[in-house]
């Protein structure tokens, strides 16, 4: 066999690039084993072809091998990552979480406490305000009553008791007349409330002849608390009387409705 002619035929190039039949491949293989020159030729052809292909190759990233190894589930003995002792890591982690939880819960509790306290303070403020108002009102009432007491104790005051008349014997009233300032204080606690559409009217009377002069109606009788009314009186009154009149008052007293009457004691 002419080895050189065999080599020059070009069959070995086709052998390396994979164009031969199975039978031809077997043949080349046998010849390579027998003739080192043929093997050498094949190795050189292969080397040139590898180099040519490498020449047109893009960069082959190192991650590619790792991806292939991952896919094939290779053990990566040399790439093993040192792991921390697990219990220790966990212990720290748990402690951290526990601490965070405690602090979190504490914060929530404090927040809640704070809200409760704020709400309580707010309630207290309201209550304070109410109490202050009560005190103010009491002070005012006290002042009014002290004033009244002073008036009644005045040396110049003339006290006139008014007794119940006719069918109204249960009724009574008192007039405190201060001649110095031309006013009377009528204490009408002994009178019932004025019915709907009616009003109490106060009269100043002179007795000879009997002449009534209206001192006015007590429009706020039903709503007044202490039933003491300050009324101006410039008359030389000899007696005081109170009648129940239709709302708006009357020109002259309706004698059937004369509830109380009292005569001024002559000094």
């Amino acid at each position: 066999m002419d080895i050189n002619a065999y080599i020059e035929s070009g069959i070995l190039e086709l052998y390396v690039s994979g164009q031969l039949s199975e039978k031809e491949n077997q043949e080349v293989y046998e010849l390579m084993r027998q003739h080192p020159e043929i093997l050498q030729e094949v190795l050189e052809i292969e080397a040139a072809m590898i180099k040519l292909a490498e020449g047109v190759a893009p960069n082959t990233h190192t991650v590619l091998l790792q991806r292939i190894k991952d896919e094939l589930q290779f053990d990566n003995d040399d790439n093993k990552v040192l792991t921390m002792p697990k219990s220790r890591t966990n212990w720290f982690a748990y402690t951290g979480w526990a601490a965070a939880l405690i602090v979190g819960a504490g914060l929530l509790w404090t927040l809640n406490q704070n809200q409760q306290l704020e709400s309580q303070v707010s309630d207290m403020d309201l209550e304070n305000l109410y109490l202050e108002q009560q005190i103010e009102k009491a002070k005012t009432d006290l002042a009014v009553k002290e004033n009244l007491l002073n008036v009644l104790r005045d040396r110049d005051i003339i006290s006139v008791p008014l007794g119940g008349q006719g069918n109204f014997t249960d009724s009574y009233a008192k007039v405190y007349w201060n001649k110095a300032d031309n006013s009377i204080y009528l204490d009408a606690q002994g009178l019932p409330e004025a019915p709907e559409g009616k009003v109490w009217q106060v009269w100043s009377l002179t007795l000879n002849p009997l002449t009534p002069t209206s001192l006015g109606t007590i429009d706020n009788f039903n709503t007044d608390q202490n039933k003491i009314f300050n009324i101006a009186n410039t008359n030389e009154s000899q007696a005081f009387g109170i009648t129940l009149e239709p709302a708006g008052g009357s020109e002259s007293p309706t004698m059937e409705q004369l509830h109380t009457l009292g005569v001024v004691a002559q000094p």
């Binding site: 020059e8 035929s9 070009g10 069959i11 190039e13 086709l14 052998y15 390396v16 690039s17 994979g18 164009q19 031969l20 199975e22 491949n25 077997q26 293989y29 094949v42 050189e44 052809i45 292969e46 080397a47 040139a48 072809m49 590898i50 180099k51 040519l52 292909a53 490498e54 020449g55 047109v56 190759a57 893009p58 960069n59 082959t60 990233h61 590619l64 091998l65 991806r67 292939i68 190894k69 896919e71 094939l72 290779f74 053990d75």
Partner: protein, 176 residues
Amino acid sequence: MQLETLISQFQNKDEKAFEQLYHMYKESMHGVIYNIVRDHDIAEEVMQDVFIKAWNKASTYNSSKGRFFTWLLNIARNAAIDKTRSKAFKNSGKNLNAEFFVDILETSDNLNTKTDAIGVKGFVKKLAKTCIEVIELLYFKGYTQKEASETLDMPLGTIKTRNRNCIKELRHMLLE
């Protein structure tokens, strides 16, 4: 270590042997695959498929049937060509018909910086156009002699000797 020993370890599912073989052939396989698919991401995808397939089919290799490089080359070419026939690849609008491996060298910014690609580029440019065509079809595209002769409108016997002479020329350029 002898290549035969390494290959038989690889066939016995030795992971280290697989890695060594990977490093020996990754560049050349990547070049062949990239020349067919002309897309970096797709080429890496095919690379992955090829080496996984090689691992899984390791037992089917038999040195009496051909070189280990040739066995791997066949897997790589087939996988890359299958990829270009996939619907997704066709929809990407790539037209690979008129492209030769030398076109890659023209746009050398794509190239591997580790190998002496610049030297390869200089040599390959000196190759005759007919050499480039023959090498492209027989080696990079895996055409049979008959297919290549029809494509290039060249007698069957001429293909074989031209291929021989072209690779001989390449050997002088690259290996000496």
